[in-house]
């Protein structure tokens, strides 16, 4: 993998795909034979991130915060403790902070130095979150970034950008859309998009959901 002196430019990973597959497979063989890794454990890690942990986890937390004022208050005060009350299946760790959008303030999360992201509540980050355009612009021109997502906020709304420079992870609690009184948590969770919990989007409206 250290060999970068020939032309890799024909693939956007920075190296040809088949070559990458072969090199990664070779590395796994070495690590397995050395006794460092168990392929069955590696399968389980991949399975976890492909099928078990994703934005639905975060959406259910947000929906509960929308419907249960005591949970909302607990979540904003101490997110790991509040989420722990939901059951053992949640593995968000101890470094999570929930931040709430209001009519006065919109929160947006970035990691300018690498791509830190709340994996435990949102799963693996999308490619755009890890990309240079997002990491470079979110802290300087967040309204321009929001425009890339088709989002326009009132010009007086405070934009608060959280740069995840340590192990703390941030989960945005978007504003609850109008016209959702009496909805169940499950139904509300359908309105909570991944991007709305990063702060590059808003929760969907009932009309958008119906489309």
């Amino acid at each position: 993998m250290a060999d970068h002196d020939h032309d890799h430019s024909h693939h956007d990973h920075g190296a040809p795909l088949s070559e990458i597959q072969l090199r990664v497979r070779a590395l796994e063989t070495v690590l397995t034979e050395k006794g460092y890794v168990d392929p069955a454990a590696l399968d389980a890690v991949v399975e976890t991130y492909e099928t078990k942990i994703g934005p639905r986890n975060g959406a259910l937390i947000v929906a509960k915060a929308w419907t249960d004022p005591a949970f909302r208050q607990a979540l904003l005060k101490d997110a790991p403790a509040a989420i722990a009350t939901l059951g053992d299946a949640w593995r968000v760790g101890v470094h999570l902070v929930a931040v709430e959008n209001t009519p006065q303030r919109h929160n947006m999360v970035v990691c300018t130095l690498c791509s830190c992201y709340p994996w435990g509540t949102l799963g693996l980050p999308p490619t755009w979150y890890k990309s240079a355009p997002y990491r470079s612009r979110a802290v300087k021109d967040p309204r321009g970034v929001l425009a890339d997502f088709g989002v326009q906020l009132p010009k007086e709304t405070e934009i608060r950008v959280w740069d995840s420079t340590a192990e703390t992870r941030f989960l945005v609690v978007p504003m609850r859309p109008a016209g959702t009184d009496g909805w169940s948590e499950e139904r509300l969770a359908d309105l909570v998009t991944r991007d709305s919990m990063i702060g590059t989007g808003l929760a969907r409206t009932p009309a958008e959901l119906a489309r």
Binding site: V37, V92, A132, V139, E167
Partner: protein, 218 residues
């Protein structure tokens, strides 16, 4: 280090491009890289900040050209080689040629499925916190040659402590083999104009999480 990874405020990278209905992973090898690194973190082969530092240390043109998961793969290989956990001839051969070194523990499928939480980076405090929420602080103007989590755009800037998270392992120390050296960690918030000048969006506020050695009273 003042590397190309420290992207906050850079211009010229273009629009944010969103892939509709993007899957968590695009290629099987990406998942294998993620899983190998996760297993080696669990085995305490190295710290998460060693992984970050290995990627930051890639030549800038390699860093920028590589996809996210390919950067992970390059960082993985770098840490394995630097620690003597594998050798270059083994990577070339695609098989083990020498006995492995002992690691603290080995990740199993059972642990993944039942109890693999995210790491806990809190450490026992070494002294009282120097700052409290509401305090005005200035970030230090430092340019270490090695890993740091104080981004360039936020150096030498005045802000306000908003949150105090606790004492955590100090990345700048961890990657230079000086141990956890636990430090208080704060969320410090800056007015956008303090960072980007008088023409900045007046509604913008930016926060970083800053370890105590990054800060001085303002």
């Amino acid at each position: 280090m003042n590397g190309v990874h420290d992207m906050g405020g850079m211009d010229g990278f273009g629009k944010v491009e969103v892939e509709p209905n993007e899957p968590p992973l695009h290629e099987p090898w990406e998942g294998r890289v993620l899983a190998m690194v996760s297993a080696l973190w669990y085995a305490r082969a190295w710290h998460i900040d060693d992984s970050r530092y290995a990627q930051e240390s890639l030549p800038p043109q390699v860093y920028l050209a590589a996809s996210y998961w390919w950067r992970w793969a390059l960082g993985l290989q770098k840490n394995l080689l630097e620690r003597g956990l594998v050798t270059q001839d083994e990577i070339a051969a695609g098989r083990s040629l020498w006995p492995g070194k002992p690691l603290a523990r080995k990740l199993s499928a059972d642990v993944v499925r039942t109890r693999m939480p995210r790491g806990n980076f809190f450490r026992e405090q070494q002294g009282p916190a120097r700052f409290k929420p509401g305090d005005r602080v200035r970030t230090r103007n430092i340019h270490p040659q090695t890993h740091t989590r104080l981004p360039r755009y936020a150096r030498g800037k005045t802000g306000v402590v908003e949150l105090i998270h606790g004492c955590e392992a100090y990345p700048d120390s961890v990657v230079t083999d000086r141990g956890d050296d636990p430090q208080w960690l704060y969320t410090v918030v800056f007015d956008g104009r303090e960072i980007w000048g008088a023409d900045a969006d007046p509604t913008l506020r930016v926060s970083i999480d800053a370890f105590e050695p990054y800060l001085e009273p303002a």
